[in-house]
């Protein structure tokens, strides 16, 4: 399990200056790009995440190569756009940022090109091979991961009805007696079903086995039924932070980076509940069928943008954990706020006592029917 390996190396991040030994100037080593296109269109998420990419490696890359980069901020509908572009026979994108499940789908649908990561990417700064360094985040042959993010909970620290107690267990989310108040959960079966089963007494390792059994999904929904009346369902990651800040909910799930901005940037009375945080990946795919010049440029960029230092640099701008184990020791402080990023990293060992990893293959197989059941349950 790479995540356990990350735990060890992330601990080093707490030692000041541990990363200095690896810090190096990349400008000397960036080889010239031969037969490469002079521009790139990158699809990403916009907002804070795209900004972290811009600062950590796109701007440095432009500074060294002088190419033009255009952003398309539509990663939330990346697969639909890629499919439409492929059917139209005109691919406007060179590089697309997607989450793990979408990468799997793009790979399955033949929308993404297969990438030989060992050949294209740089080995770890500590000498680890690409496969070892990225480990489990290499979920398929098309994916170049950048970060770990997790879906986890934030709660308000000023709820009078809680009488000073703070939730420290995932199942406190399901306990409306000790922790009364509204919750916000994602309007999607993913993660919610897993969490419900764990709090219904299923060992974390057996969650998908139980879900696959007859009545497994119903069992999870029955557990969710116990708090259904107290739940506000969200569809966009920004909703839970807003609901928490407006006191509409007292606990809510969202992406850990969003909670970081609520806590560290906006200073709201909110804390994080990391118990059974659900890991997922975000990374690059390259559309299938690019011509040679564009493909060369993309590979040249990927080699630079996913090396150990660049992935560590990204964590200066956003609270997501680098996908490379070798980047973990280099994670330092936030570029503007100056605070230590390690406590906000999902890969920080303190935050990883219990965790789940999004089972992409299981969800790829069962999403359609489970989604139908879940939507039906929501509508009841």
């Amino acid at each position: 399990m790479t995540i356990t390996k990350l735990m060890g190396s992330a601990a080093l991040a707490l030692l000041p200056m541990a990363g200095a030994a690896f810090a190096q100037d990349a400008s000397a080593e960036l080889p010239p790009c031969e037969g490469c296109a002079e521009s790139m269109v990158i699809m990403s998420w916009g907002g804070a995440y795209q900004n972290s990419q811009l600062k950590a490696y796109v701007e440095p890359y432009i500074a060294q190569t002088g190419i033009a980069v255009t952003w398309d901020e539509s990663s939330n509908e990346a697969i639909a756009k890629l499919r439409a572009a492929q059917e139209a026979g005109n691919m406007p994108f060179d590089l697309v940022d997607v989450e793990g499940p979408d990468a799997q789908r793009a790979c399955d649908e033949g929308l993404a090109a297969e990438i030989d990561v060992a050949e294209v990417l740089a080995p770890g700064a500590d000498g680890a091979t690409v496969e070892d360094d990225f480990g489990d985040s290499l979920i398929n042959d098309c994916y170049v991961p950048q970060i770990y993010f997790s879906t986890t909970f934030g709660y308000r620290t000023d709820v009078a009805e809680w009488n000073g107690a703070t939730p420290d267990d995932l199942c406190d989310v399901f306990d409306t007696t000790a922790f009364p108040g509204k919750r916000s959960l994602q309007a999607s079966p993913k993660k919610n079903l897993e969490w419900a089963l764990i709090c219904d007494g299923v060992p974390a390792a057996d969650v998908y086995k139980v879900l696959e059994e007859e009545g497994g999904v119903e069992r999870a929904l029955a557990k969710l039924d116990t708090i259904k009346g107290d739940v506000i369902w969200w569809t966009a990651g920004a909703e839970t932070p807003q609901l928490l800040a407006d006191k509409e909910v007292v606990i809510g799930s969202t992406y850990n980076g969003r909670l970081f901005s609520v806590i560290a940037e906006q200073g709201q009375p909110v804390e994080m509940l990391w118990d059974y945080q659900n890991f997922d990946f975000d990374g690059w795919i390259v559309p299938a069928g690019l011509d040679e010049a564009r493909m060369n440029r993309v590979m040249h960029f990927l080699h630079f943008a996913t090396d150990t230092q660049r992935l560590a640099d990204q964590a200066k701008y956003i609270a997501y954990g680098p996908a490379r184990a070798s980047s973990q020791p280099l994670v330092s402080t936030h570029a503007e706020l100056g605070i230590e990023m390690a406590p906000f990293m999902p890969t920080n060992p303190d935050n990883m006592k219990n965790f789940l990893v999004n089972n992409i293959e299981w969800w790829a197989d069962h999403q359609d029917e489970v989604e139908a059941t879940f939507q039906n349950w929501l509508a009841q």
Binding site: D108, G110, A187, A364, D365, Q367, A372, Q375, A379
Partner: protein
């Protein structure tokens, strides 16, 4: 039309004079028959009109009709199964067994070897996964596994029997010979497929490349079934070690040994399917024909009904709120009416998202309206109203957003009602209410009709506002369509849902025309 114009529209005097001067057809000044000349000039006029609208027409056809038509066609298209598994589809026709025999598995093996090379087996898996959970990983797994199936033993045994049998150059010659191809049909088919992807994907010359195992497996089957090919070295395959592809597939994934996947492949073998439409109305194709989906999986009918009910409710609230406003606007003097009109139009100049988010701030439980009610003592702090993330939220926000579409046609129709009629009614003894209800209101109905059609048709396809304020019970069918377009990628189902929605709107429009008459709809005075 031209005839009617000539005979019907001709002044009587002209006809009489023409008939007196020259019997026979009338002629124009240049000597051509008047009828033909008129027809020509009419045709010219029509052509000119057509040319004038041509840019717009072309634009609409290219950017609207064609893409929508293409999208709607997807709701029945199912070419992916016969295109990806052509041999399996044919072989399955001859094998009615619940779990078919070796011949079908051999066809599936050949299909998957080809599909894996072109990386299309996973697309088929995703398609079939819409119908049966788990199909996606079965095909992904099988694609990985076909390379490992023990079919390499055939090449070795053929080489041991006669080394000429593994010479690619000789194969190229044999496979160009119609007699050989006829004697070894499966081998020829497998060789063509192999040669096809070797040349196309690898850019290699099939006559110089080591043949794929799939060709030898086919050759073994041809020879084992007693085929004799002229020109090929005679090999007795009776003593050959063989491998059961059926066992290999089932060993890779037990699902291949169960009837479900085969039922599915048989059901979706044809190029055209009703599956998406059945799915869109909570039906499915069962072993005994069409049946309802399991209770827990039915969502679409409910959503269609909800979309209709909420859209009608929103239209009704728009009429209730819009009518008095339009009435006021129409009866005020121009100066103050213009000022009020700006207030009506102001929302148009504000982003839809901003307006919707503003409603969130107003309506939520810790929001402005609830705070005011609690402050005024009308409700207790524990009894805060749930005004958002439910149907109430959708109705309130969408009524606000669509209100101008009701007020504007109403206003323009009311502007055209002469005030003298009401005055006349009053002078004849009607009281205010009777004068309004019997005289004014009937004349404003075309405005209500126009506004209602506009609001209803806009509401039925609304998507972003219900998504933001509708919670789980205030969302529309369009939110599911969006989900299938961008999240689940089930475009066939999205197209079927969209087609049904379009059909329902057209049906309602037709019914409206029959009941009210579309001529009674006025967008302007």
């Amino acid at each position: 039309m031209a005839d009617a114009t000539v005979t019907g529209g001709m002044p009587a005097g002209l006809g009489a004079r023409g008939a007196a001067a020259t019997p026979g057809p009338m002629v124009a000044a240049d000597g051509t028959p008047l009828k033909a000349s008129l027809a020509r000039s009419l045709r010219r006029q029509k052509m000119r009109a057509l040319l004038l609208i041509a840019p717009l027409l072309l634009f609409i056809v290219v950017s609207f009709v064609l893409p929508i038509g293409d999208m709607l066609l997807r709701s029945v298209q199912n070419g992916i199964v016969p295109d990806t598994l052509p041999r399996t589809v044919v072989a399955l026709r001859d094998d009615p067994a619940e779990v078919p025999g070796e011949a079908v598995f051999e066809a599936l093996y050949a299909d998957l070897v080809v599909a894996e090379e072109y990386k299309v087996h996973t697309q088929l898996g995703s398609r079939l996964n819409y119908e049966m959970g788990g199909a996606s990983s079965m095909f992904r797994g099988a694609g990985r596994a076909v390379g490992r199936f023990g079919t390499d033993i055939y090449a070795e045994q053929f080489e041991d029997a006669d080394p000429a049998l593994v010479d690619p150059a000789r194969w190229a010659v044999w496979m160009a010979d119609p007699a050989v191809r006829e004697a070894l049909p499966r081998t020829a088919d497998a060789y063509d497929a192999w040669a096809g992807f070797t040349a196309e994907l690898g850019g290699d010359d099939p006559a110089a490349e080591e043949l794929g195992d799939v060709v030898y497996a086919a050759l073994y089957r041809d020879l084992a079934s007693g085929a004799q090919a002229p020109g090929l070295p005679a090999v007795d395959v009776a003593g050959f070690e063989s491998v059961s592809l059926r066992d290999e597939f089932i060993a890779d994934d037990a699902g291949w040994g169960e009837p479900a996947i085969w039922d599915l492949l048989r059901t979706f073998s044809p190029r055209v399917t009703a599956g998406y439409y059945l799915n869109a109305v909570d039906l499915q194709m069962g072993p005994d024909g069409v049946e309802m989906r399991p209770e827990g999986d039915r969502i679409y009918l409910q959503l269609f009904v909800r979309t209709m009910i909420l859209s009608v409710t929103i239209t009704a609230t728009c009429i209730l709120l819009g009518y008095p406003v339009a009435f006021l606007l129409a009866s005020l003097p121009m100066r103050s009416a213009n000022l009020l009109m700006i207030l009506v139009l102001l929302p148009f100049w504000t982003s839809l998202l901003v307006r919707t988010s503003a409603w969130k701030v107003l309506l939520q439980q810790q929001g402005v309206i609830n705070d005011l009610l609690v402050w005024a003592g009308l409700i207790g702090n524990d009894g805060r109203l749930a005004l958002i993330n439910n149907q109430t939220g959708t109705i309130i926000a969408m009524t606000h957003i669509l209100l101008p579409f009701m007020i504007l046609p109403l206003y323009s129709v009311m502007k055209g009602i002469p005030p003298t009629y009401v005055r006349a009614a009053k002078s004849l003894g009607a009281n205010d209410w009777t004068a309004f209800w019997r005289v004014y209101f009937p004349q404003s109905i075309p405005g209500i009709g126009a506004g209602s059609i506009l609001v209803f048709i806009l509401a039925i396809g609304y998507y972003i506002t219900p998504e933001l304020v509708g919670g789980t019970k205030g969302v529309f069918i369009s939110n599911r369509i969006a989900y299938h377009i961008s999240d689940s990628l089930n475009w066939g189902l999205a197209a079927a849902l969209g087609t049904i929605l379009l059909a329902v709107v057209l049906l309602l429009y037709w019914a409206y025309d029959r009941m009210v008459g579309i001529d009674n709809v006025k967008l302007g005075g």
